[in-house]
Amino acid sequence: MRRAPLLPALVFTIIVTQIPFLLTIFYSLQSWNLVRPGSQQWVWFDNYVSVFQDSQFRGVALNTVIMTLGSVLIAVVLGLVLALLLNRHFVGRGVVRTLLVTPFLITPVAAALLWKTTLLDPTYGLVNFVLSPFGVGEEAWISDFPLASVMVALIWQWTPFMMLLLLAGLQSMPTDQIEAARMDGAGAWAIFRELTLPHLRRFIELGTVLGAIYLVNTFDAVYMITQGGPGTASANLPFYIYQRAFLGFDIGQSAAMGVVVVVMTIIVATFALRLVFRSFGAAEGSH
């Protein structure tokens, strides 16, 4: 009886999210190309062997790690600076916070399009215009630095989230501790290092884990800004698997890649999430 209110949500989630993964495993053991009807047959682990022999796959996996971790870490650092700046009383604080939140809200496809055209365009882009006093000419950022260009758009979108999270952390800090430290003559840097940072640690960890979970799935920015190119220079795993499945119609191969990605994600995420949610006391539940 007590379980009744829970069941609809639980059953729905199991059906919609778990069955596809079971099917992914099933398909990953088959050779199946959609454009060749009747090509479906069992090949067991052949797909996995070719995934691991695929040097492009390894390159793309590395891109994914760089893109995810690089963007998350830079966004956390920038978000920390902004959170510290916002954690003061000043004129128009609410307005500045609203301005800062906006990049996170803009539809990722629109944001990516914006970076690709009006901002990073070599001739008409705002970025080259702003940098022109520093001797930057008509730099073609997207073709010369494809991975970095995608990351700039991601960092711009995710810094606001980190800022909000760390601001919540700063505001939950007990002020009497800081007062006491100041009375004892501790400097601003000492207070930051000895009190603020340790208090923020779990917020930083949470931001890193959540940012990584969301950013490892990045698709929109790659699709819109570089199409993974040139070659696979800026492709990440979601984009590469998409290419294999929907442009190459290779169901078996892309399913095998999907399974590899899931296994890697589970290893990292189970550990990281347990850690973070334990430290946030999500277990306070027994009411």
């Binding site: 007590r2 778990q18 301005l99 990605v261 949610f277």
Partner: protein, 293 residues
Amino acid sequence: MTITTERGARAASSGPADDEPRRSRRTGPVLLTTLTWILGIGFFFPVLWMVLTAFKTEGDAQSSPPTFVFSPTLEQFRTVFDAGIGPYLANSLGATVISTVLVLLLATPAAFALSLRPVEKTQDVLFFFISTKMLPVVAAIVPIYVVVNNLRLLDNIWTLIVLYTAMNLPIAVWMMRSFFLEVPVELLEAASMDGASLMRTLREVVLPIISPGIFATALICVIFSWNEFFFAVNLTSANAGTMPTFLVQFVTSQGLYFAQLSAAATLAALPVILAGWVAQNKLVQGLSFGAVK
């Protein structure tokens, strides 16, 4: 605040000139405030630039150096509406609203069963819900495509509605649970002492307390469904396409004309920006599955 005055005070003890501490005490905060404003405007500027470009002629939009002063025109918005944005807008609205309602209908009772009247294995169930968000979507897209294709449900808005509901449900369960946990137990006990039935307690005691939370959860679901692109681009085309796919299709057919695409991007992004401004306090709570209030 504390940090800057601290720095001012330290300068006072070590500064050689007498009037220096007073000056730095005053200029320090002003400098920091100015810096904060500059950074805020800097982060916001690309969005502002998008909106400005949407009101330019193509000539003004693609000029070097960029045009800052121009006479605004609605020409680009006209082009976007002529390109048939209507059905996409309707699909986005439909998918967003219906999936959000479904999420709330499923998540609210579930969150109740995981908070005020906890079932056994509450922790495991909660962990199961977030674990579904950890699995990369891309790993599921192949079978989803095959199944949806076999069911003849490609390019059908209900496919997106079901997927968006599943996508937002874990976030909503966690968020709603954190709101339920804020309901004081004494209140519930008092209500049951007075002989109120469970349904009545829920309706008259619990609901008023958690309704701001329901609103916040709804806004978060709206933001995620409206912005979703991966499922939309892979599973829909002309019939069930949403705003993000309209943007792609618009750029592909019209070419990269800055003013036009800015107008389309502005229309696609605006509803969520407005919703997000209202819900900015709750954004973190949504994304962190209620771990941070």
